[in-house]
Symmetry: C2
Subunit: 215 residues, 2 copies
């Protein structure tokens, strides 16, 4: 898993901001022993680039125009385990991290990172080091939500009432109350507003449900 010293670290950069891509590219290419072999802002193209170049490190933004960076990480992790993944996190992405932990990400990097920090993170990732903050950003959700609960939580966050949710799902309002109550228990919330806040903080709604947002 660890790379021999002296070999050039090959990096693929994935971010949907051209300017940030460019800045990161010149920054990394100025560093000795690091070469940027691919750059893109599109998720599917990122997977192709990894398949083609088999880079040592994948610098990956989570917000991409086509598919989620989480999805890219999952596929790369499954098919090309030799590539170390370093996630570039923006402002509101703290919730994503929870979902990424089981995927074996090699490091997290804030987008506000400086030249030195990025070069350092890339070098460490290539060397096999795992930089996980893990203990930060609050506690982990003990009990996971069921699909039905996520469905209802999503509508709750959207501002729907119990009665509206019941009508949309063709179930009774009492059943909605039941699920909402369970959601509160699992999230540790005491009101809808609190549940909404926690859902945002933990990023519960941002995950794998991207494919069925069609109403």
């Amino acid at each position: 898993m660890t790379r021999p010293i002296g070999k050039t670290i090959r990096v693929v950069i994935v971010d949907d901001h051209p300017m940030l891509r460019e800045g990161t590219r010149v920054c990394l290419e100025r560093a000795p022993g690091i070469a940027v072999v691919g750059v893109t802002g599109i998720g599917r193209e990122a997977i192709h680039l990894v398949a083609e170049h088999r880079p040592d490190v994948l610098l990956l933004d989570l917000r991409l125009p086509d598919i989620s960076g989480v999805e890219v990480a999952r596929q790369v992790r499954a098919a090309y385990a030799d590539t170390a993944i370093v996630v570039l996190t923006g402002y509101g992405d703290a919730g994503y991290l929870r979902a990424l932990r089981p995927l074996g990400i090699r490091g997290y990097l804030a987008k506000t990172a400086t030249d030195a920090e990025i070069v350092d993170a890339v070098r460490r990732a290539a060397a096999g080091c795992t930089m996980v903050t893990s203990q930060s950003e609050g506690e982990i959700l003990t009990e996971p939500l069921t699909p039905r609960e996520r469905e209802i939580l999503r509508r709750l966050v959207a501002g729907q009432r119990n009665a509206e949710i019941a009508a949309a799902l063709l179930i009774s309002a009492k059943t909605v109350e039941y699920h909402v109550s369970n959601i509160f228990t699992k999230l540790g919330a005491r009101s809808r507003a609190e549940a909404i806040r926690i859902a945002h903080e933990q990023g519960i709604l941002l995950l794998e449900d991207a494919g069925r947002n069609q109403e």
Copy 2:
């Protein structure tokens, strides 16, 4: 107000992402007739840079570590009206635009913009053109919230109950109900959950209150 043709366009770049700053800088310096005279990621330093260099164009990010980009824009607009301001907007910044319109911003630019778009935007801004999308990003909030209402909305979004808000602000619960009701009317919401959603969408809570987040 318009600049004579042939003169070099002098630009100051303000963004808290070093990589994006660097990318934008090299991009602009590659373009003929454009020179970057200052670069920073800090709001107060941005104002100093403008005062010192009197640039033709200020490329301004809205999220800065110290003071809001909105505040920077306001001060620059007031003291150095010759400097055209082009705002760099990220993902969730749609709400900011509402607050910026009365300030006479010369242009809005998505952070996902390409080299050509940025160079073009800078040239147009320096030439006196105003590029306002204005009609996009949904409806504009007709009535702005009062400071008291924003304060209460912030707590509402944080998940506090009316009684808790009342206790925190040392006012009666009935008064909180009154403000909450007014907030609903102004936002077009029918419940707290809806108000929270709208507040997030419009970015109402992200504005100038950065300086008093201390509880």
